[in-house]
């Protein structure tokens, strides 16, 4: 269990660092979602399932959807592939 916990915490740090260094907004949001999911598992290990449910629903679910919608509104997805998809 200790090893699993350490693994998750290292994952958190990796997620936080890679959000900083990623260039595409879309990738940053997906990494942010995975950060929330890891955090959700850590809440369960810390014996607070209340927080885990809320983290999974709000942090990984609704907040990320709102980020996606905002990015779409401000045309923040960037890149060529997205434009092709829009026109097709």
């Amino acid at each position: 269990m200790k090893i699993f916990e350490t693994f998750l915490l290292i994952g958190l740090i990796i997620c936080a660092l890679s959000v900083m260094f990623t260039r595409r907004m879309l990738t940053a949001i997906v990494i942010y979602m995975s950060y929330s999911l890891i955090m959700c598992v850590i809440w369960i290990i810390l014996q607070s399932p209340d927080l885990a449910i809320t983290e999974a629903a709000v942090g990984a679910g609704v907040t990320s959807i709102l980020f996606f919608v905002t990015l779409k509104k401000i045309n923040g997805f960037g890149g060529e592939s997205d434009n092709e998809q829009d026109q097709g």
Binding site: P49, D50, I53, T54, I65, V69, D82
Partner: protein, 322 residues
């Protein structure tokens, strides 16, 4: 803008203000608003989807030398600031008490009271919910109101008025409509998945809300799950299906009813001198679904407010309307 002001001037409040200020309008002749005349030829629907490169259009970095130098200084200063902040935080972490020690400052008489007599006093097996919705129910009422106010602020910022005659706003609404033209509608994969998932999400959310005083969860998390289910349903089936059961009228009725119920259920503590521990509502047997006094009702209220808020956020961000 002008239409809203005309509406305001003809309303009772506007007439009262005109009478009170003796016909003086501080807005008159001070703001000059130049709305460029929009014609059909001016409007090009493709400029919505032509990706804006903010870096190049807003900041002309290649030509402006001062801007480039200040950009370098900005980067260096931000790195220095980050390093200093990280150093200070890591240095402070050393002074925090160790994790899980019995003599930590959190283990004081408050948590001893909650753990020791929470079940007898609130009747809730899950005494996290008992704490949130009984001992600290007034805080939770404030949080629900904050959510409601946040939705109203988003509406003020993002909602498009249907009867708008102002050409700028008409153009923006048209842009929002064309923006939605390019999203995948009737996606068969999404629809097949949501046929399975949406009922499960709804049932799971309702279970979390109704069992909030028995098992982990409660109004907020259950409401968020239901809101996510609503958003998934909306994504896969479109607005015409969801408008059959969820319009702005539904949102108003549900939010208002839930907040008023919460307010009435907890306002008795005003008459007992902010001491709502001495409740005369029967607590029932702890463990039964109909137990723990008002917590079940309050959970349902918070859950419906949260579900409505999540869904309203999504639709307002997406479409500017319900």
């Amino acid at each position: 803008m002008s239409r809203i002001r005309d509406n305001y001037k003809s309303s009772p409040a506007g007439r009262f203000e005109a009478w009170y200020k003796d016909g003086y309008d501080p807005m008159d002749d001070r703001m000059d608003i130049h709305i460029p005349a929009q014609t059909e030829e001016d409007y090009d629907p493709t400029d919505v989807i032509a990706g804006l490169d903010l870096e190049d259009t807003v900041y002309d970095r290649t030509a402006n030398k001062a801007l480039r130098i200040s950009g370098y200084i900005y980067k260096i200063l931000s790195v220095v600031l980050c390093v200093v902040m990280i150093g200070v935080l890591i240095w402070m972490v050393q002074y925090l008490p160790a994790f899980g020690q019995p003599d930590n400052p959190v283990n004081n008489e408050v948590s001893a009271r909650y753990i020791g007599s929470g079940v007898q006093e609130t009747g809730a097996i899950n005494f996290v919910t008992g704490m949130i919705l009984d001992y600290r129910a007034f805080d939770t009422f404030g949080e629900s109101c904050v959510l409601f106010i946040a939705t109203i602020c988003v509406q003020i910022l993002l909602r498009y008025d249907e009867g708008e005659k102002d050409p700028e706003n008409v153009r923006r609404r048209h842009q929002a409509a064309t923006d939605r033209l390019f999203e995948p509608k009737n996606d068969i994969i999404l629809q097949k998945v949501s046929v399975v998932l949406v009922p499960l999400l709804f049932i799971f959310g309702i279970y979390i809300i109704l069992n909030g005083h028995l098992s982990p969860g409660g109004g907020f998390s259950g409401g968020a799950v239901i809101g996510a289910g609503l958003i998934l349903y909306l994504c896969s089936y479109g607005y015409s299906k969801t408008e059959r059961f969820f319009t702005i009228r539904t949102f108003r009725i549900i939010s208002l009813a839930a907040l008023i119920t919460y307010c009435l259920a907890k306002s008795y503590s005003f008459y007992t001198g902010a001491n709502h521990l001495e409740s005369h509502i029967p607590l029932g047997t702890p463990g039964a679904i109909l137990s723990s006094g008002l917590i079940l009702v309050l959970n349902i209220c918070v859950g419906s407010v949260v579900a409505c808020t999540m869904y309203a956020f999504y639709t307002l961000f997406r479409k500017g309307d319900f």
